[in-house]
Symmetry: C2
Subunit: 208 residues, 2 copies
C-alpha cells in the first residue's frame, strides 16, 4: 500500500515516521513505540540510530525550524531583491512551505519555549533583525520618506502573524467544511490570503 517507504534506509524510515508523529503530537505527546509502529521497525533501532528520543527529536525540530525560517532569512538578506520584492518573496515562500506542511507553525511555536537558547545559537539573525539587509533597506527608505517609520520588528510580527494564522486555525476550517472539499477550499483561501497580505503590508508601509 505504501510502497515508497519500503526502499528507504532504516534511518530514513525512522526520521520520516518521527517527523510525522512529532509534528502531530509534540515531544511530550509522542511515544517512541508510536514512531516504531509508524516506521515498521523494532523500538531498539531508534536508539541504535539516534541514541535517544531527545536526540531524535532535536534532529527533527532543527529540520522543521530550517524549513520554516531558513529560506525566509535568506530572502531577507538577499541583496538582489528590493524591499518590496523581499516582502513578496517572504510571504510567498512562507505560504508555500506551510501549504506543504500545515502543522509546521503550530509545532515550532509550541516547542519553542523548550529550545529558545539552541535556536538562537543556530539562527542568531532571529534576534539580530537589525542587521538584515531588509532592515537596512527599510531604514534607508524611511530616511527618504518612502517607507513608514516603524520598528522593523513590527513588520516581522505582522508579516509572519498574518501568514501563519490561517494554518493555526486550519483545524476549525476542516470542521466547518467537512464533507465538502475542505482541502481545495482552504487552498483557494490561502491563495487569496497571500495576495491580500502582501497588498495590505505594502499599502501600509509604502508612503504614496
Amino acid at each position: 500500500m505504501q510502497a515508497p517507504t519500503e526502499d528507504l534506509s532504516t534511518e530514513e524510515k525512522i526520521k520520516e515516521a518521527a517527523r510525522k508523529i512529532f509534528l502531530q503530537k509534540g515531544f511530550a505527546g509522542t511515544k517512541i513505540r508510536d514512531i516504531a509502529e509508524e516506521a515498521n521497525i523494532n523500538i531498539a533501532l531508534m536508539n541504535y540510530y539516534f541514541r535517544s528520543k531527545e536526540k531524535l527529536f532535536e534532529a527533527i525540530f532543527q529540520e522543521a525550524l530550517y524549513e520554516l525560517l531558513g529560506k525566509t532569512l535568506q530572502i531577507l538578506n538577499d541583496t538582489n531583491l528590493s524591499f518590496e520584492g523581499k516582502i513578496r518573496a517572504v510571504v510567498a515562500n512562507d505560504m508555500a512551505v506551510m501549504r506543504k506542511n500545515p502543522l509546521l507553525p503550530s509545532f515550532v511555536f509550541a516547542e519553542i519555549h523548550t529550545h529558545v537558547e539552541k535556536i538562537v545559537k543556530d539562527f542568531p539573525q532571529i534576534i539580530d533583525t537589525n542587521n538584515l539587509h531588509f532592515a537596512q533597506q527599510h531604514a534607508e527608505g524611511v530616511q527618504l520618506g518612502k517607507y513608514r517609520n516603524i520598528h522593523i520588528d513590527h513588520i516581522f510580527s505582522m508579516m509572519m502573524g498574518m501568514s501563519i494564522q490561517p494554518f493555526l486555525e486550519k483545524p476549525f476550517w476542516e470542521v466547518q467544511y467537512a464533507g465538502q472539499d475542505a482541502e481545495k477550499l482552504f487552498e483557494e483561501f490561502i491563495a487569496n490570503h497571500e495576495k491580500i497580505v502582501v497588498e495590505m503590508l505594502l499599502g501600509y508601509l509604502i508612503i504614496k
Copy 2:
C-alpha cells in the same frame, strides 16, 4: 512567602496550579505530581476533586478558551459598536488578555487539534463567522463601497494573527533583551503594535 494561596480552597489551589503548569507544558508534558507540588497538596486530592488528569485539563482548557475568545466574540456581536469600533475593541481586548497571560495563545493553538470538536460545540460562532454582527456590518459597507470587498475570514485571520504573533515570539524577545528590562520593553512594543495593527487594518479595509 506566597501567602495568597494559603486561604484558597483546595479545589482553587489545584486549579490555579494546574493552570500554571498546563499553560507552560501542555497536557502531555504536564505530570500530575508537578501540579500537586505546585499546589502543595497530596496527589490523591487531584482525583478526589477532578476525577482525572483529563477532566482537570478540560476545565482549565475551557476557561483558557473563554478567556482568549469569549470577549472577542461578544464584541463582534455588539450591535452598539460600529465596524471600525469593533476592530479597535477586539484588538485592544486581545492585547490586554495576552498581556496578562502571554502563554495563552501558544497553549490554546497547540492543544486545539485534540479538542476541535468540543470547541466548536461550545463556540459555534467560531465557525459561523458569517452570522456575526461584524460580518453583516462589513457586508453592508461593501455594498455601499465603503469597505474593501474581501471575505470576512481574511479579516479575522489578519486581525488575530497580527495580535497573537508577538506573544508567540516572546521567548526570543526574552533572550534578546535578557539583562535589560525585557518585560518593560516588551510592554512598550505591544502598546505600539496595537496602534499599528489597528491603523493598518482600518487603512486597508476602509476605502477613502
